[in-house]
């Protein structure tokens, strides 16, 4: 009887392991397909199938995707757009994170009349569908002379990123004892001094979470990129989409896949290196407020 039970339990666990591994395979399959396809030449793609390993791996597709593939009328590969994304992402992440830290600190520990209301109103910004601000923002950028510029895109990402960064920092700082602030105030320390000497040293984890979140969001953005960039300032997501939809002389799936991996690589690397913080950001962004 006992023995029967034991095998029963083992059988159940075997099924659980089987299902878990099956799904691991399903989640990994697209990445595998992208990678192997990117190493095949077009002949092999035609004759083989999705799961087949490349018989004669070649870097042709990678070189072409990076340097010479056509994205619309230009044929310079993804490289210039990769650097556009870098030039957009870095300032936007840094500015929105710093603003979020100051805002979160003020909202959490220096409450004034209306500060809770301000926070609630800001929170709402995490949820609005951006379609509703697309057109007026385009007008504003136009009148500032920032239409189709990298600076304009940085500005847009900062403005619509602040809601999230403020939320992250505010929720983190709420957990730091207010007594610390009160004691420091009694000693005559100022708003900025308390921030610098008490809060900043405690903030490394939330800085990491916020920076990773913002980096992923902005690198992966397509909507703002496609609406507010012009030829020459497009971010990589827009260029990738153009590359896939430009078919000069036949469809080259291997080049498409190499390009897709290039576009995904920076955020994937961040995820692999700092996955723990990535998940924390996701769940913090999830359990808003």
């Amino acid at each position: 009887m006992n023995k029967f039970n034991l095998t029963n339990i083992n059988f159940g666990r075997a099924i659980i392991y089987f299902i878990l591994f099956l799904f691991a395979f399903i989640y990994l399959a697209p990445l595998y397909v992208m990678f192997t396809t990117s190493l095949k030449d077009i002949e092999e793609i035609r004759s083989g199938n999705l799961m087949a390993l490349p018989l004669d791996p070649t870097l042709y597709a990678w070189k072409k995707a990076w340097a010479t593939a056509c994205t619309g009328s230009e044929c310079k590969g993804l490289a210039p757009y990769f650097w556009n994304s870098v030039r957009i992402v870095f300032p936007a992440v840094i500015i929105s994170t710093i603003l979020g830290a100051f805002n979160g600190y003020a909202l959490a520990k220096w409450k004034f009349k209306g500060s809770e209301f301000l926070f609630g109103a800001l929170l709402f910004g995490c949820f609005i569908p951006f379609q509703v601000i697309l057109l007026p923002m385009a007008k504003l950028l136009g009148s500032l002379g920032l239409a189709n510029t990298v600076t304009g895109l940085v500005l847009v990402h900062v403005i619509y990123g602040i809601a999230f960064t403020t939320l992250f920092f505010r929720n983190y700082y709420v957990g730091i004892p207010t007594e610390l602030v009160k004691a420091a105030k009694l000693d005559g320390a100022s708003f900025l001094k308390i921030f610098r000497h008490i809060f900043i040293p405690l903030s490394t984890p939330i800085f990491v979470v916020t920076i990773i979140w913002q980096f992923t969001q902005i690198w992966n953005d397509f909507l703002f990129g496609v609406v507010y960039s012009g030829s020459g300032t497009q971010p990589i997501t827009v260029a990738l989409n153009n590359l896939v939809n430009t078919s000069v002389g036949g469809k080259e799936y291997n080049v498409d896949m190499a390009a897709a991996i290039i576009a995904a690589l920076p955020t994937l690397v961040v995820y692999v290196i700092a996955g723990k913080y990535f998940v924390r950001g996701l769940t913090a962004g999830a359990v808003k407020g």
Binding site: A24, N103, F124, L135, T166, T237, L240, G275, F278
Partner: protein
């Protein structure tokens, strides 16, 4: 003077954010709302025509298709992602040996942009060389899979890709929830002779209510913003068969110079989000009290 500065520093710090918020969120929403009441086409103009644009919107067959698609997409995407995420989380919570690695694999698609996801699945699902050929090569002669180019089925391709991307995230939310369940509770239930299924169905699932709630809100949010995925995977096609409201809004505003209708569709999207959001925030606030 210095004293005044010091005293009001928290407000001064928050001022730029408050201004940006009032102008670029609420101001722009009002602007778009007003624009939707005018007969603007190419350029914004302020000839008010009441709800004309809305009645034109609602009698537009393309908008009908987009809204129907959104409902199909929303329901399938949310239900399947929830069930899948919950099951995987429960299985992963059974003291699995390689949990860390499996979790990392389930969640990595969340780090990738929808444009990359769309590009990858466009290749995997393509009728000639994709999954159809794979199945044929594996011995299922005559296996057909042409959803990507079929009017009625293209939207389901978007569902598949979106679930692949987001279900790991739902899993992570539920796993965090399951880890929060008091162990004594499950022990007590087991002592009382409750079977594992009964334990989960009657005791643990009801405890997951808040997780269900926030997962639904986030998935709704992702679904309503799935502009990029449609753009990369089907381009809204064949024809406009797989358009979502976000794609409709983009096409009418930026490609067709019908910004009045575009603004009306954006406002409807905002109302849709509010219809989900307000009950959510309401119940959140009530719980806190």
């Amino acid at each position: 003077m210095l004293n005044f500065l010091e005293k009001n520093l928290p407000k001064i710090v928050l001022a730029p954010t408050a201004v940006a918020m009032v102008v670029c969120m609420y101001g722009f929403i009002v602007w778009t709302g007003l624009l939707s009441l005018t007969k603007s086409r190419m350029m914004p103009q302020w000839d008010f025509v009441g709800l004309d644009q809305y009645s034109r919107l609602f009698s537009n067959p393309r908008w009908d298709v987009a809204v129907d698609n959104l409902f199909v997409f929303l329901i399938l995407f949310i239900v399947i992602a929830l069930v899948l995420g919950l099951l995987l989380a429960i299985f992963l919570d059974q003291k699995i040996r390689v949990e860390g690695a499996i979790r990392t694999i389930y969640l990595y698609p969340m780090a990738i942009s929808f444009i990359v996801t769309g590009t990858a699945w466009k290749w995997i699902l393509n009728p000639g060389l994709g999954i159809e050929k794979l199945m044929n090569d594996w011995g299922f002669a005559g296996f057909e899979f042409r959803w990507l180019v079929e009017q009625d089925m293209a939207i389901y391709c978007i569902v598949i890709a979106a679930i692949w991307q987001s279900s790991g995230f739902v899993m992570a939310l539920f796993l965090a929830g399951l880890r929060g369940v008091d162990e004594n509770l499950t022990k007590a239930a087991k002592m009382d002779g409750a079977s594992t299924v009964r334990l989960y169905w009657h005791i643990i699932l009801p405890l997951m209510r808040p997780v269900f709630f926030s997962a639904i809100v986030i998935l709704t949010h992702i679904a309503i913003k799935s502009f990029d995925l449609v753009q990369a995977l089907t381009g809204g096609g064949p024809g406009y068969a797989s358009d979502l409201p976000a794609n409709f809004m983009y096409t009418y505003t930026f490609n067709r110079s019908q910004i009045g209708i575009g603004a009306a569709s954006a406002m409807i999207m905002l109302f849709g989000v509010l219809a989900v959001l307000i009950p959510y925030l309401y119940s959140e606030l009530r719980e806190k009290e």
